[in-house]
């Protein structure tokens, strides 16, 4: 009696594993399908690495990614005739992964920095950014000076982290794996302030959980899409595509949709030389 019950349990267990595997096979395709069907027929899909979520730049579920980066790159992809496939990946190794060839492009609210340029190449900037200090409503950290001695949350590997390390003199700098983790830590009081890209901060503010931006830090950062060093052809294609979306008004439309105001004029003219 005991052995038949055991056999039955074993059979159920194996069946469960088998069905999970079958389901997994089905959906693993979805993980990397083009989010929302980014047009252009011919050519292989363009694989893109991105740390999702980071609203409003990238967010959503596998198979259904949206956000400014996602939709902009899809538009760029359309104009160069390639479909786009986003892959969720962790930010702190994203440039190394790009260099190793895990994907072809990085579109992840990535600031162009000299340090990063040693490993990858960037397109012309597609976004001009600032950092913001995010606090709980009524919080009193409203300037860079006031960060001194406080517990500050950032996302690991970001320019926000760099900024606080260099200028902030925080008492305790907490580096979280993902942006939203830092924001959560702020909500429950674990950190006193979060330094993070302005649009992300604006998003958090708008969510109505009692957080507000207390100060903007004009760091004059520019975001670019990144490719592995030496991929000059792809780089040129992307720059071309980007220029087109700006010229035909798609860029402005997306910008207003996701950031609720008009894009700055400089975007039309800033360029970036790959070093």
């Amino acid at each position: 009696m005991r052995s038949t019950r055991l056999t039955a349990l074993l059979a159920v267990f194996l069946l469960a594993i088998a069905s999970l595997a079958a389901a997994g096979c089905g959906s693993s395709d979805d993980d990397t399908t083009s989010a929302g069907g980014g047009g252009g027929g011919g050519g292989e899909p363009l694989t893109v690495g991105s740390d999702i979520p980071y609203p409003p730049f990238e967010q959503g579920k596998p198979g259904n990614y949206t956000g400014f980066d996602v939709e902009l790159l899809e538009a760029v992809g359309e104009s160069i005739g390639r479909e786009v496939e986003f892959e969720d990946t962790s930010f702190d190794t994203i440039f190394l992964d790009l260099a190793r060839g895990n994907f072809e492009v990085v579109a992840s609210a990535a600031t162009i920095t000299d340090e990063r340029e040693k490993t990858v190449d960037f397109t012309n900037p597609y976004y001009i950014s600032e950092q913001a200090i995010l606090v709980k409503e009524g919080g009193d950290i409203d300037s860079v000076e006031k960060l001194a001695g406080a517990t500050v949350g950032v996302q690991q590997g970001t320019t926000g982290q760099e900024f606080v390390e260099e200028e902030g003199e925080a008492g305790d700098l907490r580096k979280y794996p993902q942006g939203p983790d830092a924001v959560n830590a702020l909500s429950n009081g674990t950190v006193d302030a979060v330094v993070i890209d302005i649009p992300v901060a604006e998003n958090a503010e708008a969510a109505g959980n009692g957080l507000e931006i207390s100060a903007a830090i004009p760091t004059e950062e520019e975001y670019g899409f990144a490719v592995a060093q030496g991929e000059t052809e792809l780089l040129e294609e992307l720059n071309e595509g980007l220029k087109e979306t700006i010229e035909d008004g798609t860029y402005a439309k997306l910008y207003e949709q996701w950031f609720k105001h008009e894009p700055p004029k400089e975007i039309e003219t800033t360029t970036h030389e790959a070093t």
Partner: protein, 248 residues
């Protein structure tokens, strides 16, 4: 190959960042030692509660078994995230409990200690239980026949034997615990993994991670050999006539 070595085994780089990584590893060590000791004690308490005799104490046994099942069944990382997210949100707790900053260590450290102790206490309780159950029944009979009550028999006769028998598996659990401290990086504790991966994302060189791994080996390898030695020694000491087990 050259590239690979430079990326992961850049000795000059390791030397440059040695102090930084070591600082992180020091946090790791403190976390591991503290949680380990607490888990060893808590596990013993749980194991004892689990086998208190008598009908009246059935609720105690039941709760203990439930606790052990639950916390062996939840992944440690999830527990860490839940604790770090949940406790600060409990408004009714006083500040010093909600966001503990005891002895100069940040709250992420203490949440880590809590989560690891809760989980590994459950694992170790089962190890102790195996030890207790492997003590021959006659020992309890002899102790009780001499007039000792259950508690005295446990304290003086059963537990000393049980614990000696399971020192090796307990040490193995401790080694596992030491490595699991890296999970606390997810709540931004500056233990060695976070420090090393941070260096990696700033410099695009991974050698700091390799260095961190080496630091772990410096601790875990000797422990592994110690476990082997203990196994072969205890096998012969207290088991009358039992065959020696070859240490692998």
């Amino acid at each position: 190959m050259e590239e690979f070595l430079k990326q992961f085994f850049d000795v000059g780089f390791m030397v440059d960042h040695f102090d930084e990584v070591l600082d992180g590893f020091w946090i790791t060590t403190q976390l591991a030692v503290l949680s380990g000791i607490l888990a060893l004690i808590w596990g013993l308490i749980l194991a004892t509660l689990r086998q208190l005799p008598g009908k009246a104490l059935m609720p105690v046994r039941f709760l203990t078994i439930a606790y052990i099942d639950v916390f062996r069944g939840i992944p440690l990382l999830m527990l860490i995230l839940l604790i770090a997210g949940g406790i600060p949100a409990l408004e009714f707790l006083p500040e010093w409990l909600r966001l503990p900053e005891w002895f100069g260590k940040p709250d992420s450290f203490w949440f880590g200690v809590l989560a690891i102790t809760i989980t590994y206490g459950a694992y170790m309780a089962e190890v102790y239980r195996a030890g207790i159950e492997s003590v021959p029944q006659g020992q309890m009979e002899a102790a009780r026949s001499l007039g000792m009550n259950h508690g005295q028999a446990m304290r003086n006769v059963i537990l000393p034997q049980a614990v000696r028998k399971v020192i090796a598996p307990l040490l193995n659990d401790f080694v596992a615990l030491t490595k699991d401290t890296t999970l606390v990086s997810f709540i931004a504790l500056n233990e060695v993994t976070l420090v090393a991966s941070d260096i990696q994302s700033e410099t695009f060189n991974s050698s700091a991670l390799t260095l961190g791994a080496i630091m772990f080996l410096v601790v875990t390898l000797p422990l592994a050999r110690l476990v082997d030695k203990l196994i072969s020694r205890e096998q012969s000491r207290f088991t009358r006539g039992a065959p020696r087990v070859e240490a692998l």
